[in-house]
Every structure is written in structure tokens, then in C-alpha cells.
Symmetry: C2
């Protein structure tokens, strides 16, 4: 299926004059071709859901606007416009109105996306995870975000984020370092605007080896509403959103809320309870809105399809003691560290018959846990190495 | 109800010659008075569940043992013996065999406890929480354990722990500092043994203003098995066990396992994912065996009786922006930070009719979010203070 040029241009124009995620425009586009909706908007003539009030609201933006110029500017940037029906249009962007509980109303699905980069957005997001978090991140948070993004990218997972300072930037950088899967920056402004300015080089690198995505034409500024509306795209493009650091009212929790709205997983990285930048993560884990994760394998276990990435329970290094049965262990516990003692003393300390002690000690000798000299026994270094070691005090 | 002296002495004697938590002794005590069980043990004569094999195992400890001496030694230490039926015997120590899934068999309930300190153990543990964790704790872990114990004690909750180095010690110290509720140290050895030795002063302080509890008579050494068996008492005396730091195979997770066996809550404090000493806590939270907690209020919410200590959802400080409706917010977002602009420009940026902008601005002025000069508007410091501030770039 192909989308014709008029349709594409009209959707681009609607993204400039109305805000992305507008319910009114979304509903109008369900009822009529985009070119027709755009013609009505230009003429100031109501059409279906697009009533006079809505049209009045955006009339100031329509006057003198020539959408072909945006298309040209986009072409100069090496960008392209993709629409529902294009092969590159990602899955998962077709949620129903009412699904999202956001505190602004721009929560309808996108009707157009502007993209820079040589990857196919649909393929790149088939396996993808969002990593988001505080702009005022700590050194700990940026370290963890970078490591996590690197490991996920190494595993072939696209890392999606918002290009902000702090966690977002660390995630993009970590993913770029891996050079294994594209990283995707979703902006709240036009593709020509480097926001934040300090990330202009980072954004150039993402455009070069990954993808940059926006819902608004070049020149559009990142307003507060657009950040919130952008967050729903970050959540929707991924199978799960990992919050690395977030204070209790961090904006990154808005992305997590949109992920929940969409039935995507929310994952959170813990940190010191003494860090305000981890308080939002802890609150989400504590109230079971987020799953605690500490590394990429755990992330993939949560977001992977059923059966993929099932983790074995984590265990520390095994100690030979663990393989011993209880009687043997009691005998071992009764063998002193320093001064070697006889079987009778070991039997009394262990509360095990002397005959049993005599049967057990040779196997402990073979295992290298005890040593014998002149009929007296004591622990070897290995035998003494276990925690909660028996003291040599007799009961 | 009172327990007679013979019964008390016999239970003490059984605690020395058999290991605490012995299933055999527990079952024998269900069938016969303790004095009778002790007489059988002394005579080496099987009685009910106490068969010849079990008696052979402990025969070496019975020879020459005079329990009255233990009682005398205990009296010298200022200690006392309490038994089921005593007013001071704590609730919650009467679980059935088979309840505990421990990897050693000493998991029957205690049949005697030895106690030092001037508080009533039953009353002290009516509201109590265990705080346990790694001996090789980090500075972060000991800090958090101390703060948590202090705040819980301040709230009138007894803090129970095992007097070990690291988290245990920090918990006792934090609770002692509060001087509001007793802290309780449960030992794996006799009440006369300071273990670890470096905690002899701490143990003296706990005995002075809190309680020290043991299941074995004076002189008994803390063997590996006794540590594991002791942990079940720590779990059983409390409504919940908080693990502050624990590596993946930390011994403190044995206490947490016993708490789960007994239907008590397990709580865990998160930490940096880069710290091996928090890996056990994270694994327990991740697999939902433990509830994440970050402070005393959250602990009390989990372990408190229904309706007590219900926490309000945590929120960061509110910003005046949050009270604004969407149109007003869009107008506010369109007001620049530096160069003041007119209503028409604000209307165009916001995508809101100029008439509406004119109605909205005076209320923002009253709220102190915007300021006006010569018909041009810009944000005040307060208005500009919100995150994700609108940029002054026109769309």
C-alpha cells in the first residue's frame, strides 16, 4: 500500500497547525481523507469533529502557511514523512481514544511521523526498549543507563529515548557505543532543532547511525505540552520503558504512565534510598507499577516474548559445604580451625555418635575440607573458608 | 499459669544435650512432661519419638552434665529461663512441624528461651521488626540500617537482630540511640559469650537497655547450625524481616526464608545495582518475595495491622502549574521567558484564540506566573520555574 503525496502533505500540514495527538484531528482523519480535512481547515469550514471552535483556535497558524516549504526544508535535512499505510509505519501506534490517562488532551495516536536516519523505523522498533529518566541524573544513574543501553544494543535491541540531558543522553551514548542496533531519539520539536543545544553533536551522531523521530515539522519549538505528548510516542514505539532515575515528580514518569496506559511493561532500576533521584523508581517498584531490574538480561526477560530470555534464578558461587548432608555438616562444624582434636571430642561437640564421625571424616579429608595428623583432626583453609564458621569452643 | 521448676530445668537440660529445634525432642515434649523426657535421655532409654539412635547421638553430651550448674551460671549473668506457659513466652512461636523449609532439620519451634534484660519479652515483641543483613556491609548499608532502626524504635517498634557485624550491629546501635523501644539481640550461643568479640560492648548495652535472647545454656558455642536455627527465632519474634543489604547467598536471606515459611512479611531495602551487597535484596524484590521499602513509614505500612500506618501516595512538591486546566497551560507555555510579547503572538504560539488568551492572562498575572509591561507579557521567575519550560521560539 502506498500513501499519495497529497495525503502525506496534508498530514504534515495538520501536524503544524494543530498539536500532535489532537483528538479532533484524529477523529476527522477517521472520517475523511487528510487532503479533505486540510482543505476544510484552510477554508475555516467545519468538517465532522472539527468544529468552528477548534478551527478558530488554529486559524492564526493557518494564515500564510505553505506546507510545501516544510516538505522542502525536511528534504534539505535528509528527512522523510511517514504515514499510516506506509511500510515503514511502526506497529503499535493505533491505540483507541480513551486509552491514555494523560493530564493533557494530546493523547490521540500520531497521524504522521518525520524521520531522519537510514534505518527502517518499523523494523528498528520490532525489538526495542525505552530508557528514560531524570535530566538532573547522578553519576550513578548515567553510569547505569549507559551500561544498560550498551548491553541492550549489543543484544540487538533498539534503545529509544528522548535525547534530554542526564539519563536520556547516557542511554543514547551507551547504545551508540555498541554499534549493534540503532538508537532512536524521539524529539518534542522539529528535526532541525537541536534541543537541548548541548546535545547537538549527540543528535548528529544519532541521525548518522540511528534514527531521529518527530511529530512536528521543522522549526516547531519544544513546548511543555509537546514534551508530554512526545512521551507517548517513546512508550508506544517500545515493548517496555525502563526508568533509570526519577525523582517523585520527574517528567520521565509521564513516559512510564503512557507505557502503562498502552499495556507496555514499566521497569525501574533501584538506587540508594538516600538519593532523591531514585525515589520515583522506588515508589513505582514498591507499588508494583514497575518491575525492578538490575541489568539487561532482566530487562529482556520482562519485555521478551514468552519463552525468550527466561532467566535462571541468580545464585552466588557455590561452596563445597552446600553439597553436604546435615550430619556431615555437623561433624564438619565440630572440627576446630587451629588445634587438632580427636574423634571423641568431635563427636561430643557435634552431638553425633563417634562411629558416625569416624565414617564421615575420611570423605571430608578427600574433599579437602579437613586434615589429619597423628589421629587428630582440624579444618583446612578451604574447610575454614565458609561463612558462620564453627568456633572451636566446646559446648 | 506457672511452669514448675523441674519442667523448667528439664527444658534447659534438653536445650544443651540436644540441638535447639530438634524435631525428636519437640515431638517427645508434645507427648510427655519435660522432666520425664529428660529422665529418659539421662537413662538412655527410648521414649516415644526419642529413639535409640537419637539418644546415642547425644549420649556424649549427657555424661557428667549437671543442669543445675547451668541454671546457677545463668543466675550469675542476671538471666532467666522462660518456657511455653510462662506469661513472658512470646506469641508466634508455636508453628507446626513441616512449616519450615530450611536446609537443616533444627526447625521445630523453641521449647525454652534464655533471656537477659529488664523488659518483658512477650510485650516487647508485640510490635517488632527484624532488621538483618550482610556482615560485610557497605557504609551505605550500615547508614540505612541505623537510620531505619532509629526511626522504628522512635515509633515504638522493637528492633530484633542477630548482633553480627555489619547490618545487625548498625540496627542495634540505631535502635539504642532512640531510647524509645527495646532492641532485642537473638544469639546463636550462650548468653555469656560475646560473639562476635568486637561486639562485647554493644551486647552489654543491649543487655542493659534491651533484651538478649538465646536458646542454649551459657557456654554453648555459636556453631554454623545454631546460626541457621537461631535465624528462625529472629523471624518468628517479629511481624516482618527487613533485609538491608544481602549478597546473593548471604546468610541473612536464611532469616528472610524463615519469615516467608512463617507467613511473616519480608521487606528489602534497595541499593545501587553496582553493589554486590544489594544483589540479594534486588533479587528478592524482583521475584516478589520481598516488598521494597525505603524508610520506616513504609516498613510500618507493610507490617502494621490492617488500617494502621496507611501511607498516602508519595508526591513531590506541588507547582502552581498543576492546578491549571489545559487551555490555560497552553497559554502559559506560549509566554516567553525573556522578551515580552503581545497577545496575538501568544495566541498564535499556543494555538488558542486571542480572545481566550485575553481572558486567561489576568488570572496568570494574579497567580504570579506572568508579568505585563506596556501590553507585552512574559513569565515571572515562578512561572519559569517549572520543568520542561516552553521555549520562546515561535512555531
Amino acid at each position: 500500500m502506498t500513501v499519495d503525496d497529497d495525503e502525506r502533505l496534508a498530514r504534515l500540514a495538520l501536524a503544524r497547525v494543530a498539536e500532535p495527538g489532537s483528538h479532533d484531528v484524529h477523529l476527522a482523519l477517521q472520517q475523511a481523507p487528510a487532503a479533505e480535512v486540510w482543505a476544510s481547515v484552510k477554508a475555516g469550514a467545519p468538517l465532522g469533529q472539527l468544529g468552528q471552535r477548534a478551527l478558530d483556535g488554529i486559524a492564526g497558524r493557518v494564515d500564510g502557511y505553505v506546507p510545501e516549504r516544510d516538505l522542502e526544508r525536511l528534504g534539505d535535512l535528509g528527512g522523510r514523512v511517514i504515514c499510516p499505510g506506509d511500510d515503514e509505519w511502526p506497529d503499535g501506534l493505533d491505540w483507541g481514544l480513551g486509552v491514555m490517562q494523560g493530564d493533557v488532551k494530546g493523547m490521540a495516536p500520531p497521524w504522521v511521523l518525520l524521520v531522519r536516519g537510514r534505518h527502517d523505523l518499523r523494523k528498528a522498533t520490532a525489538t526495542s526498549v525505552a530508557i528514560v529518566g531524570a535530566r538532573a541524573a547522578t553519576a550513578y544513574g548515567t553510569h547505569v543507563a549507559g551500561e544498560l543501553a550498551f548491553a541492550l544494543a549489543e543484544a540487538g535491541t533498539a534503545v529509544v529515548s528522548g535525547a534530554a540531558y542526564g539519563i536520556d543522553g547516557a542511554a543514547h551514548r551507551g547504545a551508540l557505543t555498541a554499534r549493534a542496533a540503532p538508537t532512536i531519539a524521539v524529539l518534542a520539536c522539529g528535526l532541525d532543532i537541536a534541543y537541548p543545544r548541548g546535545h547537538d553533536r549527540l543528535l548528529a551522531q544519532v541521525a548518522e547511525s540511528g534514527l531521529i523521530v518527530s511529530e512536528v515539522p521543522p522549526g516547531c519549538a519544544p513546548t511543555r505540552v509537546r514534551f508530554l505528548v512526545r512521551n507517548r510516542v517513546v512508550a508506544a514505539l517500545t515493548r517496555g520503558t525502563v526508568v533509570v532515575e526519577a525523582a517523585l515528580r520527574s517528567g520521565s514518569l509521564s513516559t512510564a504512565n503512557r507505557a502503562l496506559d498502552l499495556g507496555r511493561k514499566v521497569l525501574a532500576v533501584p538506587g540508594p534510598v538516600t538519593s532523591a533521584q531514585s525515589a520515583g523508581c522506588h515508589e513505582w517498584i514498591r507499588t508494583q507499577r514497575a518491575v525492578l531490574v538490575t541489568d539487561a538480561a532482566e530487562v529482556l526477560e520482562v519485555v521478551g516474548a514468552a519463552g525468550e530470555h527466561l532467566l535462571l534464578p541468580k545464585r552466588g558461587a557455590a561452596h563445597p559445604r552446600d553439597a553436604l548432608d546435615e550430619t556431615v555438616r555437623r561433624v564438619l562444624d565440630a572440627v576446630p580451625v587451629r588445634t587438632a582434636v580427636g574423634v571423641a571430642r568431635i563427636a561430643r561437640t557435634a552431638g553425633v555418635p563417634a562411629l558416625v564421625v569416624q565414617q564421615v571424616l575420611p570423605s571430608l579429608l578427600v574433599a579437602g575440607l579437613v586434615e589429619q595428623r597423628d589421629g587428630a583432626w582440624r579444618l583446612t583453609t578451604l574447610g575454614a573458608a565458609a561463612p558462620a564458621q564453627a568456633m572451636s569452643v566446646a559446648p
